[in-house]
Amino acid sequence: MTRLASAFAKPHPALVCFITAGDGDTAANLDALVAGGADVIELGMPFTDPMADGPAIQAANLRSLGGGTKTADVLRIATDFRARHPDVPLVLMGYANPMVRRGPEWFAEACTRAGVDAVICVDLAPEEDPDLGPALREAGISLVRLATPTTDASRLPTVLEGSSGFLYYVAVAGITGKQQAAIESIESNVSRIKRSTDLPIAVGFGVRTPEQAAEIARVADGVVVGSALVEIIAEHGANAPAKLRELSAALAAAVHEARN
């Protein structure tokens, strides 16, 4: 079983934690999230133009790049994480241009060497799959696609075709950050999507608190938290690991116990 499949085969829903690579002491921050109970790590590849992100993650991207983070550094962070945590799934999330800059085969191979399990490419619509999808599939790396409130029944098959690992349901039509979706809308969309796929479904965008996470974990296979963690890094800098561990532990408890 792949690392991702194992994570979603646990007897409880999965907590997926996102932070941006190169923003703060990333290794220490990732270790804190795993220690707190994160089941899956999503590592953001910084980009100068994060069009789908709200202020918190935009700022994290720019802090990281301002500190000199290169693609090689992101891959090194992933490689080191894999060495320390052989079983925790690692997903690289980012925008198309840094991923395809040296060619899709180069990127797929770099992911393989770094022990990356899956890739989320925000601005690679399924219609443009040839730019990255075939190379990732060839290398055995999952391509996790996004479905959104605007992905209607006629479009869903296009999104699912070629998706693997899990499906990321974006709870709000909007950018990452503070707005949160009504649980009724999440529930009906997740159950609608479930009828079309066996992939696990993780829900993200706007999830900040253990209470919200628990509510979503009752209807989805995973819950993604990003901006709330990234804000801790912005606020606490070198002292972020302890705070990240605290929040991820509270989130993990809420997500893991949600159905009990």
């Binding site: 133009d49 241009n97 601005d123 479009r155």
Partner: protein, 403 residues
Amino acid sequence: MENSPNSFRTQPDERGHFGQFGGRYVAETLMPLILDLEKEYRAAKADPSFKEEFDDLLEHYVGRPSPLYFAPRLTEELGGAQIWFKRDELNHTGAHKINNCIGQILLAMRMGKTRIIAETGAGQHGVATATVCARFGLPCTIFMGATDVARQQPNVFRMKLLGAEVVPVTSGAATLKDAMNEALRDWVANVHDTFYIIGTAAGPHPYPELVRDFQSVIGKEAREQMLARTGRLPDLLVAAIGGGSNAIGLFHPFLDDPDVGMLGVEAAGHGLDKQHAASLAGGFPGILHGNKTYLLQDEDGQITEAHSISAGLDYPGIGPEHAWLKETGRVEYTAVTDDEALDAFQLLCRTEGIIPALEPSHAIAAIVKRAKEMPQDSVILANLCGRGDKDIFTVAEALGVEM
């Protein structure tokens, strides 16, 4: 010519690709809307009443057709080819941008959208968008980099007079690229009621195609006017390129006239070995703002900041059709510096009594070099895509004049 297709006027393909360029690289939330826009645009294109309304507004509101003007003193000064100008700086609002805004707002209303957003650099597209929104009574939000807000105050005030809300964008270098990011973020959050009027022939399919089609009125008129006045076609077309909308609007109707040469002029800023905005001359293919095209970027695919004295050319990308026309060899591209553009700006003021915008001043600078190499019976037709009123403060500062 290498890779020469039968026609250069049949792009893009049904997936929005111009060769390897173009496409639809957007977040999933936007995809259904973009597919819908494409469907609606096809329907509008086939609907005679859409064209009728568009043509009527261009004639009576914008003031088209714009004149085709022979520039005798500039021609004499340069001592080579005859120089002709397509006078799109005489349009309502002072640039070619309004042609596209008229087309897009008609589409927005056709789709039942009730709110308009746009990005702007120099403020010309922002002013044109605010203008059509006032004309049709739709609320309008313009995203503009905070740096540009500071250096283009008159246009900011114009937009506000026209009823638009102007949102200064502080992320990144706070210029056009960042304004476009912010417009995309607003759009994703408001897809249900909002139409995004993109200001140049770039962005996700079908924008590059529809902006080109709306701007092609420039080339269609120019072709007819030139034939009527001289009985022949020009030897060389010249246009400045920011995202490439005025250039593609002039070039496209001539692309299958094999004897008509074409020259697109990018902004070389401080010089191609320094900071500039010439994505074809100094960039590499990549993906940004919904399309694949040439971009200024580093070895990791991070986008680098552009520089041009002309805010309208200060963008690190270029429309995908130009990327394709460069690769096929059909259009030649060059770049001129800030200083060369400033000289050309003054030259046109002095010789023809026309104050051009800094954007077409780049085209004029390229003509200065090219005209001399061409025989006196040859014809250059350049796009005078904007007037210079908006730029006099920038020019005064560059020339060290206190106002």
